[in-house]
């Protein structure tokens, strides 16, 4: 237990110390929120869908969690060759505990970053319909964070070269975001796009957060949480398995 704790603490400490990184990583969510949020707002309103900011704020929170969690796993690639990871790989501790400590740490950092963006959306004018639902929404955010931290661990354990990073960004992270319904409603999509959104775990994450914070949901919060839990278990097992296979 102390092993999981100390590795978790390490990730959180590092995050809290990296002020520059915190500010820098607010950049793209702020851009989406500002440019898309206010840019598409009038069209959205005219289409009779209400306030766009209200719609997309949960999506931007989801995006932040996705990016932060994925990045922490990809940083592992570097860490493996030039960093601390090797130290943990030769320690007399089961790899599973190391993987859990790292993944929970990465997930916590993603939630913290998501919280920061949540505050920013509040400042921008986003209003949750019920304050009581906010803690519940954060449970869903936590699930999203664990899912993508575990996935990132799996990827970080499997890739050998830094070049793979670009691939992951272009072919996994960006599609995951764009297909998630973070920035457009899921209703009335063309069939192929609709099907793709349904295999994207982030879709259920964003839908769950949106459901809890604004009352607007496509699948229903219960379905969202069930899917997230299932995918979460799957990804953690997959991540742990890939992590156990690392040869330094």
């Amino acid at each position: 237990m102390s092993v999981v704790y100390i590795l978790w603490l390490r990730e959180v400490k590092k995050y809290l110390r990296s002020r520059v990184q915190i500010v820098a990583s607010l950049g793209s969510p702020l851009m989406y929120l500002g440019v898309l949020g206010f840019g598409l707002g009038p069209v959205f309103q005219r289409a009779g869908e209400g306030k766009y900011l209200q719609f997309m704020a949960p999506g931007v929170i989801g995006m932040t969690v996705l990016f932060t969690a994925m990045f922490s796993g990809i940083a592992m690639l570097w860490d493996r060759q030039f960093g601390f990871l090797k130290e943990t790989l030769v320690a007399p501790v089961p790899r599973l505990l190391i993987m859990i400590g790292r993944t929970l740490g990465g997930a916590t950092v993603a939630v913290l970053q998501g919280t920061l963006i949540f505050v920013v959306t509040l400042i921008a004018g986003f209003r949750p319909v019920s304050l009581l639902a906010v803690p519940l929404a954060f449970l869903v955010i936590g699930l999203i964070a664990v899912i993508f931290s575990a996935l990132a661990t799996a990827i970080g354990s499997s890739l050998k070269e830094m070049q793979g990073f670009q691939m992951v960004m272009n072919f996994l992270v960006m599609p995951t975001f764009f297909l998630s319904g973070a920035i457009y409603p899921l209703e009335g999509l063309p069939r192929v796009l609709g099907a793709l959104t349904r295999v994207d775990p982030l879709t259920y994450g964003v839908d769950g957060v949106r459901g809890l914070l604004t009352g607007r949901t496509h699948f229903g919060v219960a379905v969202d949480v069930a899917v997230l839990l299932g995918v979460g278990v799957l990804f953690v097992v997959f991540g742990a398995w890939r992590f156990s296979k690392i040869e330094a």
């Binding site: 030039f82 130290e87 320690a91 007399p92 501790v93 330094a248």
Partner: protein, 266 residues
């Protein structure tokens, strides 16, 4: 020195696909000695260390560390050695003290012992005054010293040092070896090191194994190697044994990454 080897390697072969990195290597290391693997890059030094430190399994042959098989008894073997890898494995966003502390937790060193021993080691390696500074503010030599101190925290029987002086200036290199010899005396820890600097092997090691193209071509004290080859320097002995001077072999993917990292860290 005791009468049984702490490390025993017998007919070990390690192949990666078609490439044979280590080709039928056999040697013993005795408890308490400083044993050096001397050879060029790509000779198989690091691969041998990775097998002994449980990170790779041999293709064929057997390895033993303190009577245990690193491939089978990973956890038990890991408690018995400390290792300083060729590439840094510190967390540079944490302080020296935090790096020591995490290591202590990973190796189940009780809190009190962890604190006492961390202090002793940090003082020994002249890092005590800087214990609360982030590692990224340290010089190359300080980082390497911290890694060695950390590797000793759980009182291992064997300390592996893979090219510990690579990239250090001559003064830091000197200092490093003085430290290594002192701790070998003070802690009675067996030191297994690799280097491609002749003078270092000559100066610090009790016994040297010359390794080239995955094979051990000669083994003995520096004096024995010179006598055996009828030469008066280890460098000349190496030339006689391998037919070449020490050289850099083709770069691997890791070497390329390493280049990038050196540029980045400036």
């Amino acid at each position: 020195m005791s009468d049984r080897p702490i490390i025993r390697v017998q007919h070990v072969v390690k192949s990666f696909g078609k490439v044979t990195a280590v080709n039928d290597v056999t040697f013993d290391v005795w408890a308490g000695e400083i044993f050096a693997f001397l050879g060029p890059n790509g000779a198989g030094k690091t691969t041998t260390i990775k097998m002994l430190t449980t990170l790779l399994r041999p293709t064929t042959g057997s390895l033993e560390l303190d009577g245990l098989d690193p491939a089978a008894d990973q956890t038990e073997v890991r408690k018995r050695f400390g290792v300083v890898f060729q590439d840094p494995s510190l967390d540079s966003d944490l302080t020296a003290w935090e790096n020591m502390d995490i290591h202590g937790v990973l190796y189940h060193v009780p809190r009190q012992a962890r604190r006492e021993r961390s202090e002793t080691l940090l003082r020994m390696f002249e890092l005590w005054e800087r214990r609360d500074d982030l590692v990224k503010t340290f010089s190359g030599g300080m980082k390497r010293r911290l890694e060695i101190a950390r590797g000793l925290l759980h009182t291992p029987k064997v300390l592996f040092l893979d090219e510990p002086t690579l990239g250090l200036d001559p003064q830091s290199r000197n200092q490093m070896w003085t430290h290594v010899r002192n701790l070998n005396q003070a802690e009675r820890v067996t030191v297994f090191l690799t280097t491609h600097y002749m003078d270092e092997a000559d100066r610090v090691a009790d016994r040297i194994a010359v390794i080239d193209h995955g094979r051990i071509v000669a083994m003995g004290s520096s004096g024995e190697l010179k006598q055996h080859t009828g030469t008066d320097s280890l460098e000349a002995a190496f030339l006689t044994l391998t037919g070449t001077t020490i050289r850099d072999e083709s770069a691997t993917a890791a070497d390329q990454l390493r280049q990038v990292s050196r540029v980045w860290r400036r």
